[in-house]
C-alpha cells in the first residue's frame, strides 16, 4: 500500500438526490436485478404472444390490441414485487444495511430512493415489454381485433398496467422493510396477491366479492381496464377509484416500514 499522505476531498453533502444516485448504482450492480428484470420481460412478451396466438376470431372486435393479458400482468406484478423485496431484504441479509445507514443515517432517504427506483423501473420495463408484446403479437390478431395500438386510450391501458406493477412493487418494498426476510416477504406478497383473492373470490357471498375489488391485485385491474359497465359488474373500479385504493396499498406498508426502520436498532 502507498504512503500515508492522501489528497483531501471536495466538500461533501448528504442529500436526497445523492442518495437516489447511490441507490441507482446499488440497484444495477447486483446480479439479481438483471435476472428478475429479464424474467419480467420474457414473461410479459411470452404470455402476451401466447395469448394473442390463441385469441379466436369469434371474439371479434371486443379484443383490442392493447389488451394486456391478465396472465402477463399477474406474473409481472409478482416478479417486480420479488425484485422490490430483494432490493431491501438483500441489505438486511448481507448486512449492507449497516453501510447504507451509516451513509444516510436519517433512513427515510434510503427507503424513498429505493421506492422511487423500483416504481419507475417497474413502470418502464412493464410498459416497454407490453408494448413490444403488443406490436409483435398484432399480426396474429390484426384480422379481427380493434386496432388501438397508437390511440390515446390504448396507451392509457398499457400505462395503467405499468402503474399497477409499480404500485405493487412499492407495496412489496414496504412489506420487505417491515419483515426483513426475503422468503417471508415474498410469501406475504403471494398470500395477499393470490391467496386472499382466491379466498374472497371463492366464497359465494356478495360482500366477499366486493372485498376482492379492494384488495391490491383487484384494485389495480381498474388501472388498465377501459371503463365499461361490464367491468363495474365484476367490481373493477374506475380509474380514479382504482388509483387511490392502489396508492393506499402501496404507501401504507412503505410508511409503516419507514417508521419502524427509523425507530429500530440495526
Amino acid at each position: 500500500m502507498t504512503a500515508p499522505h492522501q489528497p483531501s476531498v471536495p466538500s461533501t453533502r448528504l442529500t436526497y438526490a445523492h442518495v437516489l444516485r447511490s441507490e441507482w448504482t446499488k440497484f444495477w450492480s447486483v446480479p439479481s436485478t438483471w435476472w428478475t428484470l429479464g424474467a419480467l420481460v420474457v414473461v410479459i412478451i411470452g404470455f402476451g404472444l401466447i395469448s394473442n396466438s390463441s385469441a379466436s376470431a369469434t371474439a371479434g372486435a371486443t379484443i383490442r390490441a392493447t389488451q394486456p393479458t391478465s396472465a402477463a400482468f399477474t406474473v409481472g406484478q409478482l416478479v417486480m414485487a420479488i425484485l422490490a423485496v430483494l432490493v431491501i431484504t438483500g441489505e438486511f441479509t448481507s448486512g449492507e444495511i449497516k453501510t447504507s445507514l451509516l451513509a444516510a443515517p436519517g433512513r427515510w432517504r434510503m427507503l424513498a430512493a429505493k421506492a422511487a427506483i423500483v416504481a419507475v423501473i417497474g413502470f418502464a420495463v412493464t410498459f416497454v415489454a407490453i408494448y413490444i408484446a403488443m406490436l409483435c403479437g398484432w399480426p396474429m390478431i390484426s384480422s379481427f381485433a380493434t386496432d388501438d395500438r397508437f390511440t390515446a386510450a390504448g396507451l392509457r391501458v398499457i400505462a395503467g398496467a405499468g402503474l399497477g406493477v409499480a404500485l405493487v412493487a412499492v407495496m412489496a418494498l414496504g412489506i420487505g422493510t417491515l419483515v426483513r426476510n426475503g422468503a417471508l416477504a415474498i410469501g406475504i406478497v403471494v398470500v395477499v396477491q393470490f391467496i386472499l383473492m382466491a379466498v374472497f373470490g371463492g366464497i359465494n357471498i356478495h360482500w366477499m366479492h366486493v372485498v376482492v375489488g379492494y384488495l391490491p391485485a383487484g384494485a389495480i385491474r381498474g388501472l388498465s381496464a377501459p371503463p365499461s359497465a361490464a367491468n363495474a359488474a365484476v367490481d373493477i373500479f374506475t380509474f380514479g377509484k382504482s388509483l387511490w385504493v392502489s396508492l393506499l396499498w402501496a404507501f401504507v406498508p412503505l410508511l409503516a416500514g419507514a417508521v419502524v426502520l427509523r425507530k429500530s436498532d440495526i
Binding site: 404470455f47 390463441s54 422468503a183 415474498i186 410469501g187 398470500v191 393470490f194 379466498v199
Partner: protein, 234 residues
C-alpha cells in the same frame, strides 16, 4: 421454529371455517364434508414452503451451514433430518386443522353435503391433503439446497405451485391446460380430491397418478439438492 407451526395451524383453521361457512352446493356435483378448502390449502402450502426453505437457506445466510457440515461429513443426514422435520410438520399441520374444520363445519353443511367424515374415502381425502403439503415441503427443501437463497427459492416455488397453474388456466390454449395438470400445484389436487371431482380431462388425476407425478416433483429437486450439497463448497 416453534412459533410458526402454531401460526399455520391457526390460519388454516380460520380460513377453513370461513370457507366451510360460505360453501354452497353447486349441482350436479354434491359437496362432501371433507372437501378440502382450496385457498386454505394454498396458504398452508405457502407457509410450509417458507418454513422448509428457511430451514435450509437460513443456515447459508448465517454461515451455520459450515458448522453443520463439519459436524456431519457425509452431509446427507443433515438434509435427511431437515426433510423429516419438514414433512412431519407439514403433514400434521395440514391434517389436524383439516379434520377439525371438517368436524366443526359439518353442522353448517349438513343440509347439502354428503357425510364422509369418518368413511375410508373421507379420511383418505384429508390424509391426501397432508401428503400433498408434505410433498411440497420436500420439494421446497430440495430447491432451498439447490438455490441457497431464501427469496429466490420461495420465488421459484411460488411460481411453480401457484402462479403458473393460475396463468395456464386463464390462457385458453388446450395443450397448455394439459401441461398445467402435470405441474405440482395441480397434480396434488388428485391426492385430496373427493371421488366425484376426479376428472383426468380437467387435470384432476386419480390418486395413484397424482401420487407418482407429485412424488417426482418432490423427489427430483430433493435428490438434486442432495447431490449439490455433497459436492459444493459450503
Amino acid at each position: 421454529m416453534s412459533q410458526e407451526p402454531r401460526l399455520t395451524f391457526g390460519r388454516t383453521l380460520g380460513i377453513g371455517m370461513a370457507l366451510a361457512a360460505g360453501t354452497k352446493p353447486t349441482p350436479p356435483v354434491p359437496t362432501y364434508a371433507t372437501d378440502v378448502d382450496q385457498p386454505g390449502m394454498l396458504l398452508g402450502q405457502v407457509v410450509i414452503a417458507i418454513l422448509a426453505v428457511l430451514m435450509v437457506t437460513g443456515e447459508y445466510t448465517s454461515g451455520e451451514i459450515r458448522t453443520s457440515l463439519l459436524a456431519v461429513p457425509p452431509r446427507w443426514p443433515v438434509a435427511a433430518a431437515k426433510t423429516a422435520i419438514a414433512v412431519a410438520t407439514a403433514f400434521v399441520v395440514t391434517v389436524v386443522p383439516g379434520y377439525v374444520v371438517t368436524l366443526c363445519g359439518w353442522p353448517l353443511q349438513r343440509k347439502f353435503a354428503v357425510d364422509d367424515r369418518f368413511t375410508g374415502t373421507g379420511v383418505r381425502v384429508i390424509a391426501g391433503a397432508g401428503l400433498a403439503v408434505a410433498l411440497v415441503a420436500c420439494m421446497a427443501i430440495g430447491i432451498g439446497m439447490l438455490v441457497r437463497s431464501g427469496a429466490a427459492s420461495i420465488a421459484v416455488i411460488v411460481l411453480v405451485t401457484i402462479v403458473v397453474p393460475n396463468i395456464l388456466t386463464s390462457v385458453p390454449v388446450h395443450w397448455l391446460d394439459t401441461v398445467g395438470g402435470y405441474l405440482i400445484g395441480n397434480s396434488i389436487q388428485g391426492l385430496m380430491a373427493v371421488p366425484a371431482q376426479i376428472d383426468p380431462t380437467q387435470g384432476v388425476f386419480t390418486f395413484g397418478k397424482a401420487l407418482w407425478i407429485s412424488a417426482l416433483w418432490a423427489v427430483v429437486p430433493l435428490a438434486a439438492g442432495l447431490a449439490v450439497l455433497r459436492r459444493r463448497d459450503a
